[in-house]
Symmetry: C2
Subunit: 356 residues, 2 copies
């Protein structure tokens, strides 16, 4: 079963049109290029491992940045084409391609460990495809203590959002009412996440961190389930029609004070092929006003039958209910939270912490 | 075999997201709305048949235009939802939905023939899906002599074009040469048509009519194969990197001199979900200059194993070869054509036709 799933997974990457989507994603390419080639102090003379090297573009960046040796490991048959691409870029003496899964890869006898691991492993909503597992395995097996990962941190975010395309545009389709249709469409859509670009103005809360992954020490089992269950605050008025999920990845930075490179898939960042992941709601929850509390539970859980897939479970809670725990202090406008906040501020003042 | 193919075909239309693509295609909706509702003189009090009625939007347009009775025939299970949509628009007394294939449909005993057939049957490059067959069957069985078809004419066009996305953008992908990759990508892509929006400036010849279909008298067998084999003229300089195919459909017009409605999928028209169909070439043929002759053969042939699919065969010919017949007169800059054209003009003058 596991083997079949992987076969299918790697075969999908033999379709050149998948790589076309990635290679025409300028935000993606430029973030990696900048993170790698402007950090040549980190790469100069170093041994680099590229996990899932595909067309070889990241390996070429590493070679351009001065790496002495790059091991490009690619399980799909794209490995062969990548050798030609590497030759076209005159790095055949620096980059060596291995056509195997990273799980089956062995470093040449002359090399004990690598200095840097580079990989573009991110899937939709960060974790789809489960490729991070392979990067962590590579880290544990092949990376020197203190070695670097590119990227080395990942942050998963969400925010409740308006979805005018799902809700508001159906009352008048060239003069025809399509509300009944839209209702069925939303019902169908709410059963699976949707990959679309949404307008930044559709977000109705601040960017909420669901998970911060420090790739240098996170374990695979920690990727099996991510739970989010908090009360958050509406920052502007808007209808809660779906949950928007996106991610950033961050890259290490050299001593020479280069600007930190962040590849962001936030709705207001340059569009990427990851777009945003939306969990559309079948119906409007309600219209929120600034400082309204919003409560929901989000579970991102690995599919036990296919470790490359996740289930996303969203449950909307009643933020006004006594069962829902607000943070301490909470910025929402509920009387109990205003009073608690004032009380806590008062305690802080009288303890002198703020003025210490 | 035939039944299986159709089952699959109709089931695909049970996916509400297919209808979402159509219902958010404003150019499509507005063309039908305008053609039908601004021609109420044609629809008023008339009996209308909607072939493949889907969500029922065209039937509702017909009812809005004053049709006395509309028969909406839909084979997929969307028929049920369309009844609710029709009710939402208060036309349940005008529009009757039949959940069957048009081939199995029978008019109520009280109705002998219909006055008008409406249908949105067009697929990619006009003929994909082969739904026009069903409209022609409906025409032959159910339309009154002199009855109207909406649309009643269709024109299939093509033009050689540049494809910068396939050819020119790969020399430098964030500083990496990807020509080898692009070569393989083009080879893969040239084996099948591609549905993309192309820039009107990429067309290098005039709009060439491949086929003009008068829907009032064309037969299904005429749709089995369309042949194009002519010398055409480059109108500006550009590389022949692919063939761009698109279509227009035209609607009947009332006596009251309304503007003729054309739904065009030309690259410079408002974008539609049909986009354009491209046959990409695996490699540059050559750069053409204005008045260069361009010769190619295009065959659009129905797949004998699945009548809803077509094969598109493109063969590039050498316009300079003696085997290739130029039109008489030909506007290209080849000496023989310039001389022939002058000679023909001279003959016309001396026969006095031009000045008659």
């Amino acid at each position: 079963m596991e083997v079949d799933t992987n076969d299918e997974y790697f075969t999908s990457y033999e379709n050149l049109e998948i790589h076309e989507i990635m290679l025409t994603d300028t935000a993606r390419n430029e973030a990696y290029r900048k993170a790698i080639t402007t950090n040549s102090s980190l790469f100069n003379g170093k041994v680099v491992l590229d996990v899932g090297s595909g067309t070889g573009i990241l390996s070429i960046f590493a070679a351009q940045a001065g790496a002495s040796q790059v091991f490009a490991v690619e399980a799909s048959n794209l490995a062969k084409l990548s050798q030609e691409i590497i030759k076209e870029n005159n790095f055949e003496n620096v980059i060596k391609v291995f056509n195997c899964r990273i799980e089956d890869f062995q470093l040449p006898e002359s090399v004990d460990k690598v200095d840097i691991i580079i990989s573009e492993w991110m899937g939709f909503y960060l974790l789809h495809e489960g490729m991070l597992d392979s990067v962590l395995l590579a880290r544990d097996r092949f990376l020197k203590p203190g070695g670097l990962l590119f990227p080395d941190r990942a942050i998963l975010y969400c925010s409740p959002c308006n979805l005018p395309t799902h809700f508001d545009n159906w009352d008048n389709v060239s003069g025809v009412k399509m509300s009944k249709y839209a209702e069925c469409l939303r019902k169908q859509k709410s059963s699976k996440p949707e990959i679309i670009n949404i307008d930044k103005d559709c977000l109705i809360a601040d960017d909420i961190v669901i998970a911060f992954l420090d790739l240098s020490d996170i374990s695979t089992t920690e990727l099996n389930r991510i739970d989010f269950n908090e009360v958050i605050i509406a920052r502007k008025s808007g209808k809660f029609q779906g949950l928007c999920i996106w991610f950033d990845v961050l890259f290490p930075c050299g001593d020479d004070n280069e600007e930190e490179v962040i590849l962001s898939t936030h709705p207001q960042a340059q569009s990427t092929h990851w777009k945003q992941t939306i969990i559309p709601l079948p119906s409007n929850i309600e219209t929120f006003e600034p400082l309204d509390p919003i409560a929901f539970k989000l579970i991102v859980q690995r599919n036990p039958e296919n470790s490359r897939h996740y289930h996303l479970l969203l449950e909307i809670l009643d933020a006004m209910s006594d069962d829902v725990q607000h943070p301490l202090p909470c910025e929402c406008h509920m009387t109990k939270c205003i009073l608690t906040k004032a009380h806590l501020a008062n305690m802080t003042d009288s303890n002198g912490f703020e003025n210490a």
